[in-house]
Symmetry: none
Subunit: 223 residues, 4 copies
């Protein structure tokens, strides 16, 4: 679970009050993910957090409020990713930037599999405002990927193609690691999965005259 940093001055130190807050979010997150938002009762969250309902409402104004905090946590990570991707693009080339960005996003999905899964199931239970925020995050992420892809097209390393669509394909193939885990886990480790998918994506968009390099790179890696 993500550690939110509301503490003002303290570094590497969590106040007991904050720990309660996180303790509840942690428990609630786990329950939401395993049972769904609606089927999880406030009493269960309280019990799982080792407190009583009254105390829970001391920290959160409503069941929905807990959800909002979980959401905030994850959207922070996306913002980070978007920023990093931008930097990598200007430093290394588009190919490397794309590889890194994909791998980074897939890692996030891997780390927050449950929550990713949860969004796919329970988006409809968020307040409209929060739903929009989530979609907005997603579009931002898509645009970040698109910028890398466009850079590659311009440099000639990528074929001319619909970069908007590819960007969203990448996101979905990442999320898939979470929502198809019942199948994928039987056949792949996360590392294998990420590598395979990255290769497939690059294979789809890399210009023919660069294909050899792609294949060579793959050979090196598996050596």
């Amino acid at each position: 679970m993500v550690t939110r940093t509301r503490n003002k001055d303290e570094v590497g130190y969590t106040r007991p009050a904050d720990s309660r807050h996180e303790q509840i979010i942690k428990a609630a997150g786990a329950l939401f993910v395993s049972k769904g938002y609606l089927k999880t009762t406030v009493r269960e969250i309280a019990r799982a957090s080792g407190i009583t309902v009254g105390t829970l409402y001391h920290y959160f104004s409503s069941k929905d409020d807990i959800l909002s905090f979980i959401q905030e946590d994850t959207s922070d990570f996306i913002s980070n990713l978007v920023q990093e991707a931008e930097e990598t693009l200007s430093q290394s080339g588009p190919v490397e930037a794309l590889r890194l960005a994909i791998r980074k996003y897939f890692s996030i999905v891997n780390d927050f599999q449950d929550i990713t899964l949860f969004w796919y199931h329970d988006t409809g239970n968020l307040q409209p405002a929060h739903q929009e925020h989530l979609l907005h995050c997603d579009e931002l992420l898509g645009e970040a990927f698109k910028r890398i892809l466009d850079a590659g097209c311009q440099s000639g390393e990528f074929k001319q193609h619909d970069t908007t669509l590819t960007a969203h394909d990448i996101i979905v193939l990442g999320d898939m690691w979470a929502f198809r885990r019942w199948f994928l886990r039987k056949h792949y480790t996360f590392a294998q999965y990420a590598t395979e998918q990255i290769d497939l994506i690059l294979s789809a968009i890399t210009n023919n005259r660069f294909q050899r390099q792609v294949l060579e790179r793959r050979a090196e890696k598996t050596r």
Copy 2:
């Protein structure tokens, strides 16, 4: 909505009882899709079906029972698709079979967008047995795609690659048309979407020496 054919002998004849049955499923399906399973009340389903709760319980033993029937409806379609794919493969080559199978699956998703979306949201509310059935359908579909892909690898038209993964990627990129419609509808018609994705998939797996053909085919189409 799908029309279930439970009547064995009767042809072109629907009993009033059956019509009630379908009427309820239709109404329930629409409500489940728009509000989610848990947020839909039995009373609402009854009202939307133009009957009373008591009557509803004459046709279905529980709220969950209604869900099961909806599920059966859709899984029929998948079985059909799997069978057709097999036939096409033996008649035309793997490339053509893949194009057709993908297009067919994407069409199903397009026709049942709401239900596809619904499965992504509410799978968790199905009885375990029904959940497994759904996953099983999915694996069957994946295997159907895999057989086509393997055939293409063997014929040399497709690169050697992880066909299992690609098969599932195809399914997910199809479902995506439903669960990302909030975004995709803004940029693509269904026809555009299907064409673009098919090209991208083929571009990713087609052997280099066949790439020209792929490009030519695309050129023809847009001409």
Copy 3:
């Protein structure tokens, strides 16, 4: 308790469904009056009505809804009174009309002592719309009394005076029988109370040259 007439065709016949409705209103009214609206729980109302909470919510959409029905019941009576007063005024003179109207209003208060008392305590717990309706009823009643008083002033039977204020004084002196019953019941029967107050009011507003008549009338009555 007042019998509301929602039944469409039936005359002098109460359907069992309606009886439930009234049964609940009756029980709720008694509880609201004795404990106050806020301190009365829905569970108590149900228990007092001999049903369960679920059933109660079958007949009323909320606790507040029950209150609304109680209110409707009483405001019907006021409308009646206002109409009757008008008729009496045109038939008999203002003095007689005033006597009758006062006596009528006092009787209503006497019959619905508890509810009158309840309004004084719990007006603040009504929805704003219902509060306004109640005040509106009160103004209508005030205006009815005022019309009689004005007629008397014009005919010379009553002194020139602020009839608006007197009208409201009359209403308040009526309500007083409910909200001061802890004291008044110790000293007066309802009949005594009504007679005394009517005399006092007439004594305050009757023109001097008619005073003798008033006194004579009183003498007759007590004879």
Copy 4:
């Protein structure tokens, strides 16, 4: 708000503790009046007092306890009035004493409109003992008025009539300024209201042969 004088010896000196006490009563009174006793939460009282709940419970043992103190404050005023009335009666005549006492009582109601209103709404939430105390105060006040009225009857200035009832009528017509303010404020200033009511009351009870004096007095005033 009323300033309680609990400090026995100290003169012109308020201890900080006492100021807290009053501060809370002030805030609580305002809230009770505007929202009602039950709908006001202890947390709100604390916040409005600029302290925390814990601190509040250092000064008052319970929510109910706060109410008791508010009550005491007002009943002091009644005792004062009763005493003054007695003195005026012995100095001036009954007519003048009545005029003064009424005006005095009406002034108190005007000053403490909110609290008067509050008693009408929330008497039921007082502890039985406090309720009785309140009723007792009211009876004392009634008796004070009655003594003046009786004196007037004996002197011949007032008609023979039921002085007990009139005494209570006076109180109610005073309170009415508070609980009917939604209407009265639209038509009268406090001064007008008091004058009109006093005239009406005197007009009702003054002996005919004194009526002229009453009218003359009124004429003088409006001149």
